[in-house]
Symmetry: C2
Subunit: 437 residues, 2 copies
Amino acid sequence: MSLGFRHSCRLFYSDDPVKIVRARGQYLFDENGSRYLDCISNVHHVGHCHPSITQAAASQMELLNTNTRFLHDNIVLYADRLAATLPEKLCVFYFVNSGSEANDLALRLAHGYTQHEDVIVLDHAYHGHLTSLIDISPYKFRKLAGQKEWVHVAPLPDVYRGMFRENHPDPAQAYADTVKEVIEEVHRKGRKISAFFAESLPSVGGQIILPQGYSTKVAEYVRSAGGVYVADEVQTGFGRVGSHFWAFQMHGEDFCPDIVTMGKPMGNGHPVACVATTAEIAAAFTANGVEYFNTFGGNPVSCAIGLAVLDVMEKEDLRGNAMRVGAHLKGLLRKLQTQHQIIGDVRYGGAGLFVGIELVTDREQRTPATEAASRLVRRLKEEDRICVSTDGPWESVVKFKPPMCFSMEDAELVVQCIDRILTDKVRTLRSMRFLLP
Amino acid sequence: MSLGFRHSCRLFYSDDPVKIVRARGQYLFDENGSRYLDCISNVHHVGHCHPSITQAAASQMELLNTNTRFLHDNIVLYADRLAATLPEKLCVFYFVNSGSEANDLALRLAHGYTQHEDVIVLDHAYHGHLTSLIDISPYKFRKLAGQKEWVHVAPLPDVYRGMFRENHPDPAQAYADTVKEVIEEVHRKGRKISAFFAESLPSVGGQIILPQGYSTKVAEYVRSAGGVYVADEVQTGFGRVGSHFWAFQMHGEDFCPDIVTMGKPMGNGHPVACVATTAEIAAAFTANGVEYFNTFGGNPVSCAIGLAVLDVMEKEDLRGNAMRVGAHLKGLLRKLQTQHQIIGDVRYGGAGLFVGIELVTDREQRTPATEAASRLVRRLKEEDRICVSTDGPWESVVKFKPPMCFSMEDAELVVQCIDRILTDKVRTLRSMRFLLP
């Protein structure tokens, strides 16, 4: 007997993996009772093993857990609650089991509505593990099947490392123009755009914050081409950015995607996900006459858990907490940046508990400090029992996406520890220089 | 606010849908407290809202629900238990959230191992709602995108209605030869077979029982062509057939698929599914160097629930029950067949609680009695509060796939009610003849 993903899935700390046996809030406990501060479990949104979530799940499991072929209140209540967080236009909901299922359905909806085939994605993007999503994930397809003729890659609008940087007069327009160029190129080939598909904050791409105004302009170009704008909020939704419930809302009041996909934090670990879209797009999907049925999607237990997550968020003001703690964490990290040359960038622009710092070996060339980032992650775990991880094309971005109950003290602790390790590293390097002949 | 699948998903009893508010064992209760006998919820395998499952879920939710990037005992214990039900060769397990995710991964595994692209499926098959699975589901793609060049459809080996029937000297060989011919045709086009993909008992196709020997021969032809045999056990696994734990095991000791996908009953309603395969196929998947990670797949709660389902099955001897009650149900239905001309066929060959009766307007032509099947389903619900449903290309097959705790008395009740309705129908028709001028 063997576990496929033990081989195909990269464990955290693969050379010395951790066996966690229980968790609570923002803390993990291993088999020896050692406590770890968890800065990475964005799925466990309202905190690990929150009693209100367990209670809601157990109560509904005791009562009923059928499927959507029967009427049930929970799904209606839940869709209503989600609708209240979104622009009015996004008023139709499909419930599924994972962000990947949501993104696959989004592709089908876009295709059904536009009757076009081609999709534009951002470089380094990852949208899920399904066949159709590997096709639209440069992060995956570059290493696997290669690029399909209906998939087009636009530059990642990364103002720190990308083609237009913070010194550019209008990076939003410049990056949006690259999408316009892709559309023109697609049209020259006699093909047509079905969708522009992007995370509202590209995560695997390196915790990127899109330049203000970019999404609005891209949506305009994509819609002019007859396509739709899909906002992948699987990683970034449900108040993680603090200031707004959805990360796409950071892009301004005038911006509204045509399809929004959600997943990870939605069930605090329970497999539930969703696609929200407009009445027009849903009508086109229904008009094809082929039913959509998802065995587990939208079942009463999944919806009860989803509702409980929203309740806890409100009751404990976790969005407010994300805003306050996120701002404090970023403030501390920016201060740290002034003391450590290796911190090339602290992602700025939004707030909340979606934070990244990019390590570089030199600030001029911005050479990714991949090794140093990996060492920092390992030392935080070994010396301080703090879990963080890396992301970005060169794994040089140290990312923080903790449970939303992450506290001011947690933020201070992790920054202190990073400071100590980075200082220590400098000291070690200096002393090594003395020792070298 | 609207629910997409309310439009795209067909409700049971769409003209008078039922609002179920609680359930227990094989019984559903609506908002007025009326009790329905449930003959269709194969997902709620050990019975609706089984207290042992709720208990297992709640206990683990209270403790920990991380992901597979951390080590955890539950997943290892669960994979071990599943391995014990399967041939030794199927020793690698990937945990996912739905049968659709499992089938999509099976396609990827087959492709990764064979490096071929083409897939052979059975006519009328349905393998899931994802883009890649619609491509291999004639039941869906005939109404939607159409057939892809890499998909090939072999005749459904239906000995009641198919091209070779019960009077054929060797329908297994004859149907297996149709697959051989498809392979030869594929080769003539210069293409190569990646997989033969089939449910071990085609369900949407009409609760079909494959002729004995068919699968072994097909596997031989497919492997000779460098392809693999994928057994979709999403509907049929976990002891539903009574005599064996997996439906493919009915095809003989010498038959072993290369990949087995499982889902629906696995978590008794909780979203959990799995792919089992050989060490060789898993090694080829790992060798591509791209990690496979499924956010919720194989989490400690899903595995705790999966383990609890297996425990209840053993403790309550539900496989034995399925064998005994299934045999009784089929015996009663065959007796009914001798009394009602409209019952053209009672699916025979296997045992267990995967049963279908095919209604025909005449036994000679075997014309599907679609309307009569629909009326029977409606009257059973309205007059007797018994839930059954239809399947098959003409919705003329009344199917029974109840929770595995379905009792002898339940079987007797449903057959009595069918008898009464069918008798009544004959009487009504006769009296109408008297009244006609």
